[in-house]
Amino acid sequence: MSVTTDLEPVGFDEALTRYEPVFGLEVHVELGTATKMFCACDTTFGAEPNTQVCPVCLALPGALPVVNATAVESAIRIGLALNCSIASWCRFARKNYFYPDMPKNFQTSQYDEPIAFDGWMDVEVDGETFRVEIERAHMEEDTGKSLHVGGSTGRIHGASHSLLDYNRAGIPLVEIVTRPVVVPGDKAPAVARAYVQQLRELILALGVSDARMDQGSLRCDVNLSLRPAGTETLGTRSETKNVNSFRSVERAFRFEVGRHASLLDAGRSVVQETRHFHEDSGSTSSGREKSDAEDYRYFPEPDLVPVVPDAAWIEELRGTLPEQPSARRSRLQADWGLSDLDMRDVVGAGALDLVAATVEQGSSPAAARKWWLGELARAARERDVALDELGVSPTQVAEVQGLVDAGRVNDKLARQVFDGLLAGEGSPEEIVAARGLEVVSDDGALGEAVDRAIEANPDVAEKIRGGKQAAAGALIGAVMKEMRGQADAGRVRELIIERLS
């Protein structure tokens, strides 16, 4: 067991004065196929335990796997979108290990013959482009879910039993592995985050997965090592798992840099190990202990025949790829009339697809951008989720803006409609009705409030009578206050001027 918690982590900026970080990312994408990788079981998320299982994924004697054609297509399309070469011949292998999350005692994966290899993705951070090289993208299957009971903490320590649900066992995964990435240290955490963010956008554009980090259909491991600044040899790396949000990618990265630096500063060595990231504390702790556990004794899966994609099939799939992300960004930027800086904000916030979808639903680009980057981005930060995990859809945002355009709510009231949407109070129309948010433009109600405001502020009223129309602002403010922000400000101004001229 490695005890590495006795040293105070070194600050990130200080660590960078002595060391250079090198990182790699492993991203698992759970494919959105209807059935599992090797059997015809349903893959719908959230079903009752052990209701989506069969002899193949339960490893009952005599059951034989058959590869899901759509999963292979999705894997090839991911590979092509990442500028990879596609293997002309490849096999599956057995990764042997004893752990109850796989009833077979092995996971069917690809070992030294991945379906896709040698690709790259350009990642944009602060207007600068960094190329992340892709080593491989290979096919494998997900494991079952364990629930640990009997212990008080819910962790395995102290648990008396583990309870296994195999609904997830056998769901197709594509694992995408980068080569070691070296970029300026101060930019590295942001590059790591942006890579995961853009990879997720690409996966969504391909339509091969819903790529939800909160539901585990996109999972990220951060591999990190430090080396003394100016040297070339790679240091010993740690592999941090359980990094389940974009923000966590950056936090885990920074924490591990500090932890490695403190070890190296003290003349100790970093242990090559799996570590778990903890969202609450932003720290990592040691995972697997036994090096034995890494001895997977891979060998070719005898129950599955080789996958041999012919050139025509690959070209056909290439024809189904979405527009390259960079080309699409340029096109949308021109359509929306945004400056480079404004566009960068949209991309950086992970709001590109959301703004695009909102515009498609009839909102103006400026309004769509304003809501997603303002009100909704703030809510996402507060909840530490991605924008598209907030539970507010582009259609709803377009509906809210429709209410603004129709003059039925103003921007201030629209914010309250968003509060209602975030609280799950129904559609924008329902929220406006239930919360009584509609702007009042009825002259009767407004006129009374205007009269009261004039009466309460005789000096202001006098100025306006004297021709200083700019002073009307104070009276409008008073009316707004009385009507809890729900007065039609334009009509209030007209009524004030009418009465005082």
Partner: protein, 105 residues
């Protein structure tokens, strides 16, 4: 992957390691007895390399098939009752297994 062609002489330590990975509890006597037997088996398999020359690719499948795929269409599997019928212990419609030591959730 181990290559039988070059494995001549599996050691007692190798067998103990493999037994550990396979969760098989072997006594010292069993290791003493089994290690030499496994060595004989590996040596016998290794004779294949005497006839398999460079121009013969390693075989992983006996039948020359490739691209055997299935359409992505759901078919009913087992009911939970059927699935769990062979489980030694069931709790909350899940397979209950002894606790796993030494790892965190």
């Amino acid at each position: 992957m181990s290559d039988p062609g070059t494995s001549a002489g599996i050691t007692r330590a190798d067998v103990a390691h493999l037994a550990g990975l396979s969760r098989i509890d072997l006594t010292d006597e069993e290791l003493d007895r089994l290690a030499p037997q496994l060595a004989v088996i590996l040596d016998s398999v290794a004779t294949v390399s005497q006839v398999a020359s460079q121009d013969i690719p390693p075989t992983s499948h006996a039948v020359p098939l490739q691209n055997v795929f299935r359409e992505d269409v759901v078919r009913p599997g087992l009911t939970p009752e059927e699935a769990l019928s062979g489980a030694p212990l069931v709790d909350q419609q899940r397979f209950a297994v002894p606790r796993i030591l030494g790892e965190e959730a």
